[in-house]
Each structure stands twice: as structure tokens, then as C-alpha cells.
Amino acid sequence: MRRRSVTGPILLIVLGAAFLVYNLRPDIELFDLLSQYWPFLLIAWGSLRLVEVMVDYFRGSLQNSAGFTGGEVVLIVFICFIGWGAFAAHREGIHFRPAWEAFGEHYDYSVGDQKPAGNATRVVFENNRGNLKVIGADTTDIKVTGRKTVQAINQAEADRGNDGTPLEIVAQGDTITVRTNQDHNPTRGKISEDLEITVPNRLNVEVHGNNGDYDVSEMNGSVEVQADRSDVRLNKIAGNARVELQRSDLVRATDLKGKLDLQGKGSDLELESIAGEVTINGSYSGNLEFKNLAKPLHFESPNTDLRLAALPGQISMDLGELTGNNLVGPVHLVTKSKDVKIEDFTNSLELETERGDIELQPRHLPLAKIEARSHSGQINLVLPDKAGFQLVATTDHGEAVNDFGAPIQKATDGPSSSLKGSVGQGAAIHVATERGTVTVRKAGSDIENPEKPEKPEQPEKPEKPEKAET
């Protein structure tokens, strides 16, 4: 007779204990812990079987068929898959809550507090979930008003959640912390707080949170925002600004007097009237608008590297296109697959795109030095009438079209063509494409948008898979 394994009963005991903990200590996030520590269940199970086997062996009653049953193997595979997925989700910041907790009612509470800022130089906001609106003013007090939403199955539970998460304004040294204490929630319901805060505008502002929109305006100090998932709007900030986000739908910064440093992933980006240097390092999949930047811009993403000295005009960019107007060079742009259209730029332009058309229309005299290359795409060059330049425009596979006139000579050699010519003493203009038509024409001529010839076939070379991010 085969002795039955003790695994079954022990599993029941562990399950019972787990649910007991879950019911009695809601502050322990059992499911979250389980998503990390589940491999130890396998280890414990294996150890248990090992002990069983040893005990049987020393008793001399070891059975021939002490392997695992098919059911057990299926269960182990199942646990591995679920555990793997749960851990992946945990790492992505998704915290598990059982489905039945998604229900319940929302209970609202109004929150508010006021405290003098004293000699503090820094104010820190800690709000895990919810929106913040911070407004600087000519005042001495920090004043918080807002609303707290507690998710709970009944009023008593909601009250318990509310009481356990008091809003605090704590002064310590030169720092004042405004804390919503959502992580001290004694219940399992979600809590989120939307707050409007007026602070003395001389302070430096720091915002930490997980999920919520942050709106900071009219501050004379610096601003720093760090969040997992949030939209950020900055307006009229005199100090430097630094924004670090894991994910966002929109980041907007307008009227900044200081530097802006932006990091992370997101979608849309709107920057306007920024007096300081702008550094962006991240990936953005939506529309990007830059307008009126007085100091150098450095934008770096997995697909695009853009540097320029200043931007009196504007640049808009999305995944497939970049258009710019009135750029102060030296401009440096390397991008993987974008159509690029730049009107009016100074000093020099260095441009390289792997796949995409290029249209350049310098208006500023004397002309900027141009070095533009596309691996696959047509190039349109529109030059002012009176400009002086030394032009070399080539295509390896395609046509060269000269709409400029006399000083430019066309040459064809097999599949490749080129346009060469010089007018007076001027900047060197080198444009080249491996596949596509090269056109040079005079600004103001009537053929504004000549019919685009069919794009040549893409080259057969295997292409690297690209992330769908700008």
C-alpha cells in the first residue's frame, strides 16, 4: 500500500493561513508579495517531498513509484506560468488586487490644512495617487485644499481609510513636506487625492508621486517632478526645472526662465518660451512641439538626435515627420526614419536620415553650410536667388533635376546623377541620397510643389526592427 503524501494537507494549511493573514492584516499586500516570493513555494514543496522520500528510505519502506503524478506536474507548470506573469506585471508596476476589490463605492472627503512656511527653502509633495496643482504666490503660508476619494464597501470602512491617511504638513530643517500618507491606508480600498496648494513663490518645489497630473505655476524657485505615470504642466517658472517620468501622455512647459531637463517615456511634448538650456532624453511617441527656445536644445531619443544652438522659430515632430522653421545653428540632426523639412536656418546644418525625404529651404543670407544625406528618399533643395554657394548634389540611384538654371550643371553616369555648380563665393552645400530624386530650384519660382515622382523601391537589405518611438 502506498502511503499518501503529506503535501495535500499541508497545502490546505498554507492556503488557510494565507487567507487568514489576508483578512486580518489588510496592510500586507499578500498578492503583491506572492507575485515575488512564489518560487519559494516550489522550493518548499520540493523540500517536503525530499524529506518524505528520505523518511521512507530510512524506514526501509521506499516505494518503487515515488515520482510525481501527472496532475502534480501540470500544477507545477501552471504555477510557473502564472508566477512568471505575475512577477513581470509586478516589475512593470502593476500591483495585484483581487477582482472583488475593484468594486465598492467612492466616498469623498474634503481635506485642507495651512501652515506658515517659516524659513524653509524647499517644499516637497508626496501624493501617491491623485492630481496636484501648485501655485506660487506672494504669501508666507502653505495652504492646501482639496478632496480625498476613498474606495470602500461601506461608510465605516471609508471612514477608517480616511482616518488612517491624514494630510500632514511637516517642517523639518529647511524642508517642508506635504504628505498624504496614502501608503498608511489601513483598508484595502484605493485612495486618491486631488489637491490645490498655494505656496510662497520663493520656494523650490519637489513633487513625488505614482499616478496623477501635476500642474506647477508661478514659482520663482526650481521645480523637480518625479513620477511613474503622470502628465506634467509647468508654467512661469523662474528656476530650473527637472522632470523625470516613467510614462506620460503630455508634458507641457511654458515660460521657463531657467533650464529644463526632461527624462523618461511619454507621448506628447509641448515646450514654449524657455530661456534656459533644454535637455531631453527619452522616447516620445506622440506630437512634439518646440517653440521659442532661447538657448541650446539637445533632444536625444532612441531614433533621433537633434541639437541646435537656439530656436527662435519652431519645430514639430512626430514619428514620421520633422518640420522646422527658423533655427539657429549649428544644427545637427540624425534620425532613423523621418521626412525632414526645414525652412530657414543659420550657421550650418548637418542632417542624416535613413529613410525619408528631405526638403531644405534656407532663406538667411549668407547661406549656411549644408551637409545632408538620406539613405533612401528624395531631396529637395530650394535656394534663394542671390545666394552664393558651391553645390554638389548627388543621387546613386535616381534622377537629378535642375530647376535653378544656368550655373548648375547636370551629369549622369549610369544609375547615378549629380548636380554641380557654384555661384560667387559662398557656403559649401553637399546633399546626397542613395535612392531618390534630387531637385534644386530657385526660391520664389512658381513650381512650388512639383509632382512627386514615385518613390523608388525600398532597398532589399534587411532592416533593423525599430521601436515605435520618436
Binding site: 515575488q36 518560487p39 520540493g46 525530499l50 528510505y57 521506499l62 515515488a66 508566477g83 512568471w84
Partner: protein, 72 residues
């Protein structure tokens, strides 16, 4: 060196594999060594256990015919 030993090796094979599996996933969750890197350890452990089974196993009666010493 007897049939009971052979049974022991066979019986511990699955528990030990399970412990190894659990350890690899624990490494995956708490260290930089991902399961996608460490999974060959499972093969090695299973192979070692099989090898161990082979060295201990002898047919219960009679000497083995020459040249087939390791057959179970």
C-alpha cells in the same frame, strides 16, 4: 549499491528538480540572473541525477552481461 539505493535516486529526482526550478525562479525575481539565462542548470541537474541513477543501479539478480553495465 542495491535496489533500494536505485529507488532512492529515482525518488529524489523530481523533488530535487522542483527545488532547482524554484531556486532559478527565485534568482530570476531577486537577482540579475534571469530564468532565460539560467534554465540550462535544470538540464545539468536532471542529467547529473540520471547519471547518479546509472552508477547505483545494478540488475537485482545475476551479474550484468559485459558491455551493458549501465542499462536500467
Amino acid at each position: 549499491m542495491n535496489a533500494n539505493d536505485a529507488n532512492l535516486v529515482r525518488a529524489v529526482r523530481w523533488p530535487i528538480t522542483l527545488i532547482t526550478l524554484g531556486s532559478l525562479f527565485a534568482l530570476n525575481n531577486f537577482t540579475d540572473y534571469g530564468f532565460h539565462q539560467t534554465w540550462p542548470v535544470l538540464l545539468i541537474v536532471f542529467g547529473l541525477l540520471s547519471l547518479l541513477g546509472r552508477t547505483t543501479v545494478r540488475p537485482p539478480v545475476g551479474p550484468p552481461p559485459p558491455g551493458t553495465g549501465g542499462v536500467r
